[in-house]
Point group: C2
Chain length 200, copies 2
């Protein structure tokens, strides 16, 4: 088994894919799979909210009241499947998810949550004031649009998810090439990535 | 909790979504989440191969040598996440998956597998003759394109997956409506569906 030192890390490949598909609104959407407490897989579309600072940790905003929070408390692992419809590239990103809600004890994480809140559009913030997602809709009328001062910080229902990857499976269907990236730790406990070409 | 008898079953909604997005090649692609024997979720893009006969069972072709087969033997449940990029509709389809390979003891299922094989293009059949997917790529050269007589039946690596749904979560982001469909059994053991409007 040849372990090749490929020149481009997965984050660079991903940034390149995002750029070449940037004309498509849906290029920032991907599917996040988790495991429910009933032992069944669960899968939904979410929006990419960027990498955290200069790391390769992936950020997602979500509602504290959504099922995926229960899922992640039951099993903290998730896999992103991100298919780019123009460039025919797929990234499968597996890792552990940190759930950061307003009750988090770490001030640095609370700051990250606040930063994510203000980075989202005032319009998208409004959804966290809506009725409990997934519960029966009690009214035939759409609820009155709530309003929120743009300077107001994160509301209770706002939750930041941070996925720290330890494996990335990349496939490019145009050139029929597939790479697997695996994170390892060196003797100082620092994370580094190796990559290998595998059969598509 | 009002249990509404909504007029359109999920299969009709799905066929309608497929039709209104049919100009896009990727509208027949969706993400299939499973659980690996390591207890982590797994997620990948696969191709919709139609409903089985007149049922609402969803067909997928795959390679017997792929990881998802091991996953489904460990846990037979899967969730499809199918996002339609033009109509902004999402279907989350959860159910049990029947894995039908050439060693299946049921002649009816073997016939379904054969039917799925011949329904796929001769070109797509060739991939099942390729090297073991996911294993290290040993050669720098692309392998010689194998050839296959169009009348040849399913090869050993060809596997038909059939997902029998018991829950479908539908959301339409254009009108901000969400429905949950749940399958139940009547006193004769026959399957029927109920649906309810829930908060998006």
């Amino acid at each position: 088994m040849a372990m090749e030192a490929l020149t481009m890390p997965w984050k660079q490949l991903l940034l390149k894919a995002l750029e070449s598909n940037s004309n498509l609104k849906h290029s920032s959407y991907f599917q996040l799979a988790t495991i429910g407490s009933n032992g069944r897989p669960s899968n939904r579309t979410v929006v990419f909210r960027g990498f955290q600072d200069n790391s390769d940790k992936i950020q997602i905003n979500t509602d504290c009241r959504s099922h995926k929070i229960d899922d992640l408390k039951y099993c903290p692992f998730a896999e992103i499947c991100w298919y780019f419809t123009d460039s025919w590239e797929q990234f499968r990103i597996n890792g552990r998810v940190d759930v950061i809600d307003g009750s988090n004890a770490d001030p640095v994480k609370l700051k990250q949550r606040e930063k994510a809140w203000f980075a989202s559009s005032p319009r998208s913030r409004l959804q966290y004031l809506g009725p409990n997602p997934g519960l029966p809709s009690l009214s035939e009328q759409p609820p009155l649009a709530p309003s929120l001062d743009p300077s107001t910080g994160p509301v209770g229902a706002f939750c930041l998810l941070v996925l720290d990857a330890d494996q990335v499976d990349y496939v490019n269907l145009k050139i029929n090439e597939r790479l697997i990236f695996t994170s390892r730790e060196n003797i100082n406990g620092e994370k580094f990535w190796t990559s290998e070409k595998i059969n598509p």
